[in-house]
Amino acid sequence: MLKSFNGIIEAAKSGSIKRLVIPAATMMDMQPLGKAAGAELIIPCLVGGGKAIEDMIEETPLKSLPHEIIDEKDPNKALNTAIKYIREGRADILMQGSVNHQTLMDAVMDAKNGLRKGKLMSYISVFQLPKPEKLILVTDTFINNSPSLAEKQFILEHALRLTGILGIDAPKVAALAAIEQINLNIPSTLDAAILSKMSERKQFGKAIVEGPLDIDCALSKAAAARKGLRSAVTGNVDIYLVPEVDTGHLLAEALVFFGKMETAGAIMGTTNPVIMNLPFVSEENRFVEIAIASLRCGKGGDGA
């Protein structure tokens, strides 16, 4: 079981070298690309104006490392070219580069020419806890605004797929809500209760889903006990499933900015790993995102 970002990187190093394609890369992409190429995780394939890219990498470690430049002078076509490389099997991983989020999402989700697999895509924020050393997943923190119950099921299945790749056996899931009791006026409590029931009936394999759980019960076994709630999940959660994106996005940010926690992310629901460029993920941890993507390659995609 992988318990840290270093563990993820080491595990990725033991796999084969992947080809990572990135449209319209900027200088900010050079550090993670250089580190990942130096660690022999990837061979970067940079799509854009050939001369401009050559000039950019001139003073970076990438210059002396294996890489490929795919000449595409029209910046509007760089993303489509990158995706085409993936679809044709000439690259394994797509990284965002300087195209904006919506443009990236539209292209990736395109039914005909994109990379989407399954009914929806979701975003998982992976956090590294120092004591005890442990990885936790929070989802969906970026893509789905107000997922329905059925969509939450897919989001949860995506997270379970990632815990499987990270070697977390029988993951414990907190289906979060404002309170730990079912309140018919609070939809998140109902969704959480249903997912919990589905888990009882083994619809999520060995995963244990507890819900609804408020965050204090999820985080602390003692706090849960004071509320009369006893469960294998409380105080030992692997996956935090949030009700909607207001909560998910702000929760992930709160952990980073107030908790000074390290985070990396993964888009799920695609044929190949796609790495997004979020501002609250440090440059150092974008290298971790490449390592996560590398571990996911060759697993047949993760669409639900």
Binding site: M28, N100, H101, Q102, M105, F142, I143, N144, N145, L176, A177, A178, I179, N185, I186, S188, D214, I215, D216, C217, L219, S220, A223, A224, R226, K227, V242, P243, E244, V245, D246, T247, G248, H249, L250, L251, E253, A254, L255, V256, F257, F258, G259, K260, P279, F280, S282, E283
Partner: protein
């Protein structure tokens, strides 16, 4: 200006004791908090609940409650109603929830506010003390409105401003939080931000500022897309009041004190005085801090500003 929970504790000792109606103190942690708060001079308790149960937990925490006023009661809603009626009729200064469902307390508050014709929306303000920050930050509404509309959010802001101004800040800064990203269209929480910001700019909330940022990334990074080391960002720029989009968000984020190096303290500000509503998962020490905060708030509400 009150900048820390220690400030609340210090001032509560100076300004106490305040008469506190304690609703069903039938749990050891809670009774211990009442004992400690009384010993520190914050409160003079009026105990409302089942006599046997109160006596039993008092003995367990070695608290002699023989000298305090006691009112016998068993039915939870009746106890909540009585306590809030005592607050609104001026017989006591503060109410605190013991072993009573929070929804019963809110129901009683709403009834009393309606009777008083105050028009005040009930909302919860949860303070965080964050190491390195020079002020407390107040999340709201963390307890009552499940999915407040823009009009309700305006009332929630007014309540939080009322409390924050009592703490000595004439022009608090407010962030209207949202999960708005570059994808997925415009969230209702973001539309509310835009409308509330306009309302603040035209003076609807008095002296205050709604800052131009709805995410922690924007608040911490000041709108920049990325900095090499965001840990070095000046956290004193963080607004005083953080309006959360909905109850799920508010409750989930404000209770991250179980995980992060922050200390949490909550209260409900009614038009007649504060109501302390500790979570059942709160420890005794945490409840004492919340009572200290209520003592200071009621003291300042009655004009005895120190």
């Amino acid at each position: 200006m009150i900048r820390s929970l220690d400030d609340f504790s210090r001032i509560a000792q100076e300004k106490g004791p305040k008469k506190l109606a304690v609703l069903a103190p039938e749990d050891e942690d809670f009774m211990l908090a009442v004992k400690t708060s009384w010993q520190k001079g914050y409160i003079e308790p009026v105990l409302i609940g089942n006599t046997e149960k109160m006596q039993r937990v008092a003995e367990k925490v070695e608290f002699d409650i023989g000298g305090f006023e006691k009112i016998i009661g068993d039915e939870r809603q009746a106890i909540a109603d009585l306590g809030l009626n005592m607050l609104f009729s001026g017989k006591i200064a503060i109410v605190s929830k013991g072993q009573i469902p929070t929804s019963y307390i809110y129901r009683s508050i709403i009834r009393e506010e309606n009777k008083a014709g105050s028009g005040m929306t009930v909302s919860v303000v949860t303070f965080w003390e964050v190491p390195g920050l020079d002020h407390l930050i107040a999340f709201t509404d963390t307890g009552v409105s499940i999915k407040p509309d823009m009009k309700t959010k305006a009332e929630i802001i007014k309540n939080a401003l009322f409390v924050y101004r009592l703490m000595g800040y004439p022009k608090p800064r407010i962030a209207v939080l949202s999960g708005q990203r570059e994808i997925g269209g415009t969230l209702s929480s973001y539309r509310d931000f835009e409308l509330l910001r306009q309302a603040a700019a035209t003076g609807d909330f008095g002296e205050c500022e709604i800052v131009d940022g709805t995410s922690f990334t924007e608040l911490f990074l000041g709108g920049r897309s990325r900095v090499p080391d965001y840990r070095g960002v000046n956290r004193e720029d963080i607004p005083h009041i953080l309006l959360v989009p909905c109850l799920d968000t508010g409750n989930i984020i404000c209770k991250l004190d179980f995980f992060l190096d922050v200390t949490r303290c909550s209260l409900v500000a009614t038009s007649r005085g504060p109501v302390c509503i500790p979570s059942r998962s709160d420890t005794s020490d945490n409840i004492v801090e919340q009572l200290a905060m209520c003592v200071v708030v009621v003291d300042r509400m009655t004009g005895e500003v120190s």
